[in-house]
């Protein structure tokens, strides 16, 4: 099985393991660490997949050097942070930028603490900076950074980025669906919900985190 990145599941597990190992220990894993914890039968399998990961540019390696595996995007950065791309700004009245159209590699990165979400859950997550006070009823302030996972459906109670077709505007609200009717409930209970038809709503992503710095 292959993911969108062209990585096998085993390779993804290895990549993930390397990251978490470093977050936990502060130094990189040895091949045998990977082998043992991932219950791989042979070191050569690890070496084989490591080489594949290297060819795909997912890791850096120093030949012959013990524990010389490093992750490109975390070089000089460590201790529990995972980086997600900061794709732009979210403002009232504008649809979210399409992640497909942005060069993710070149985008600015935002550190996300691992205790906010484990690395595998951050797979399809990106960040947006909030401009304006339009999201204030979702308890999100001007200048906050919101973490969004791209998805086009949602469960009741999820906080989502919803595009209202009739107004052509995006809003962050809690999502509830019932018989073709949709209720978009502000996180702030003193504010009023929006009721509309399901056809009028396009879900653009799910809000998975908020970072606010007042320094």
């Amino acid at each position: 099985m292959r993911s969108a990145d062209g990585l096998s599941t085993r390779q993804e597990k290895i990549l993930n393991y390397i990251q978490e190992f470093f977050a936990k220990h502060g130094y990189w894993p040895a091949i045998r660490d990977i082998q043992t914890d991932l219950k791989i039968s042979s070191t050569s399998v690890v070496a084989y997949n490591l080489k594949a990961l290297q060819d795909k540019g997912k890791i850096n390696r120093q030949g012959k050097v013990s524990r010389g595996i490093t992750l490109p995007n975390t070089l000089g950065v460590h201790n529990g942070a995972h980086q997600v791309p900061l794709l732009g700004t979210i403002t009232a009245g504008q649809p979210l930028p399409d992640p497909e159209e942005v060069d993710i590699e070149a985008a600015e990165k935002v550190d996300v603490p691992l205790d906010l979400a484990s690395a595998d859950k951050l797979k399809d997550v990106y960040a947006l900076r909030v401009r304006g006070l339009s999201m204030i009823d979702a308890l999100i302030d001007d200048g906050d950074i919101v973490l969004l996972r791209r998805q086009d459906s949602a469960n009741n109670g999820d906080m989502v980025a919803a595009l209202l077709l009739d107004e052509n505007s995006v809003t962050l609200k809690k999502f509830y669906q019932d018989n073709g009717r949709v209720r978009l409930q502000p996180a702030n209970s003193t504010m009023q919900p929006i009721f509309t038809a399901a056809e009028n709503v396009r879900i653009q992503g799910r809000v998975v985190g908020v970072l606010r710095s007042l320094f």
Copy 2:
């Protein structure tokens, strides 16, 4: 020769070298790296001084593990995350816990991304988990983690944790002072401010960040 830290010049060089090595390569140096580049005659000399550094708490070591030397967070220059202690819970009506009374070493830790705040600014910062909706007018939700810097005064416009003596309750608001009168302004502009006498207010800390996870 000894520095103020009680380190010999050689130990300082080693410490410095470890830091630079990691910044340059992304992984930690082996004893022989230190030996060679610092032109030390024997690996045992390095081991000897490494042990001294460890005893003085300047480095962490993982015995037997290759390249298992790591620097404690306080020394890391460019870590992606900095750890601050999570000292407890903040609830409406209760003063903040006194950081002096809590075992900071034993406390749970929260990762804070460095792009939220640089390491030196996180010096006297601790974290609290918010329970209840009492801080909702500060755009802080139930379950959020707030980062506070301990301080007993504030500038106009700072978001502070303020203890109202007459009500014996803590609230998070923007602080404005004018002629002995204090205005505590909710971050949510639709809510009403509190006006009170300066004598009635004790500042317990300044809010420097908010983390919210919706995973």
